[in-house]
Symmetry: C2
Subunit: 321 residues, 2 copies
């Protein structure tokens, strides 16, 4: 199991490399929610999301020989860009396997960080098979998106910094996809000895983690449809589930309309660009989905900002018309 020491070790590796992102506050938000909200702005993180923390920590934990041989990732999203950037910092190669119908912008962003992008047909080819073949042939090390101790420890530094910079929290909210971010953050805040209630947020159509925690074992759902492209995982990770089962208070869910409404709030009030998955914690607060005592101190991870203007505009238009 990952412990606070692992998160602190990740913190040391990331010092001066990852951005120590700001904690933002808003009087308007506090009034509206009736609590003191502390927003960890991971939209300002390198590569545009918290994913850089885990990816870099994983690469930093490899032996030099492993690292120099290059790394491999499966992703069409934030993890792809994070691995590509981390590899470029270590001056090693990254190969990212992406479905051929992934948005061109995501492939372009990943290539811009220097990674080789290999596409596959998601309907006829098996990406695991492709990855295994590549990894063997080229001696590449896989960087998993969430189910890995070093990745979990890296993501936990977001929670650690939030408490260091903002003080103890009564509640911590973070989006849940594979469960790595919230597992790492829970390890950090619980490890610091506080009684913080760590609450995960999922799209209501992508509630595999909520169902799994209720059932007491990992449940697989059909690939969910949601505007939160970063949260479309169908099953909890094995290692993340073990942590989250022990450490989470609960999971709440939000609708797509609530996610988009929270993106609008970020634009109008906070002047921040936050992607649909990144805004889940704030959406839960604005929707009243989290039970709070008056004046509680609530940390929220705004986990990523990778939504291009065209998609941002389409999403906002989709619920206003």
């Amino acid at each position: 199991m990952v412990g606070l020491d692992d998160v602190r070790a990740a913190e040391a590796r990331l010092a001066g490399i990852a951005h120590r992102t700001q904690v933002l506050t808003s009087r308007t938000l506090d009034r509206r929610v009736g609590a003191s909200i502390l927003l960890k702005a991971e939209v300002f993180q390198r590569s545009g999301s918290f994913k850089f923390r885990g990816a870099y920590n994983k690469l930093a934990s490899l032996t030099p020989a492993q690292r120099d041989a290059g790394v491999l990732a499966f992703s069409s999203g934030n993890h792809a860009q994070a691995v590509a950037l981390a590899a470029s910092i270590f001056r090693t190669g990254a190969t990212v396997v992406m479905p051929s119908d992934a948005p061109e912008g995501k492939a372009a962003a990943t290539r811009a960080y220097g990674a080789a992008v290999i596409t596959y047909d998601r309907y006829t080819e098996d990406r695991e098979e492709i990855g295994r073949r590549l990894a063997e042939k080229r001696n590449l090390t896989l960087v998993p998106p969430f189910d890995d101790p070093q990745v979990i420890a890296g993501q936990g530094t977001a929670g650690l910094e939030l408490v260091q910079d903002a003080g103890p929290l009564d509640v911590l909210l973070a989006p849940v996809s594979g469960g790595g971010l919230i597992a790492g953050c829970a390890v950090a805040v619980k490890g610091l000895g506080s009684g913080t209630r760590v609450i995960g947020v999922e799209p209501e159509t992508a509630d595999d983690y909520r169902q799994s925690l209720l059932a007491g074992s990992r449940i697989t759902i059909p690939v969910p449809r949601t505007v939160a492209d970063a949260l479309q995982v169908a099953q909890p990770g094995e290692l993340t589930f073990a942590h989250n089962q022990a450490l989470l208070h609960s999971i709440v869910t939000v609708s797509d309309a609530e996610l988009i409404g929270a993106m609008r709030f970020c634009h109008e009030r906070l002047k921040l660009v936050v992607e649909p998955g990144g805004v889940a914690g704030l959406a839960a607060l604005l929707a009243g989905a989290v039970q709070l005592a008056p004046a509680e101190r609530v940390g929220v991870i705004l986990s990523g900002g990778n939504v291009d203007p065209e998609r941002f505009c389409r999403l906002l238009h989709s619920i206003s018309s």
Copy 2:
């Protein structure tokens, strides 16, 4: 004339009231421009723009009797919201005179801060006359948008903080409308004894300040058409001109398309919402309108973020199609 001491006095009045906004950096931006860019994010200022600094400093400088009688402003934009918020903090009344065809969002935002909004027909009524009558009848004090020593000193705190937090600058870029922001910032950075080149940025259709500095006297142009609604002033202020004539290095101009392109850059790369007028300094850098030596340290005031999502989307669409 306003001096560094006046800016320092404003700094003391604003302490704990205005936000000390972050200075943001971007490796992508530095690489693209070939310099070290330090972005003062006044989009995070209370009321959504730097205007709060000057408005609050002006109200704080009034006698209690003046202040308690209430204040008056002419504005349909950021100054209106700033005066309304400053008055609410002092628990006094603000009356804002706005054209009846001002965007409903701006009137609503001003009312939301507790101000009384009085509208006039800009084609048949004289706003000065309406204001004078109101001010006399109700004993209100006018808070000018730029041509006032306390307003200039207040705006200067943005430049002062930038140098305090980021260190000495080779160049400072700020948008120019009535000229209060750049005058105050020039007083601050020049007063600190540095050789900073202070460069103003105007829309190319709204270059009254550029023309006036070249001519050596204040020139009035027809009310300019530009997407930068915050920069549509037709003539330099009298007091701001006296300062800017003495302190500015030059004025450069940018096109509407360059302003909108810079807004896109802020969204995609910085994850920030910046309004068309607020992004002028960055637009000038991205357009190559500012001559820089390699690795110079360039401060940029991102002066406001009050652009609602609908207008943001319309503007971006207007140049992509």
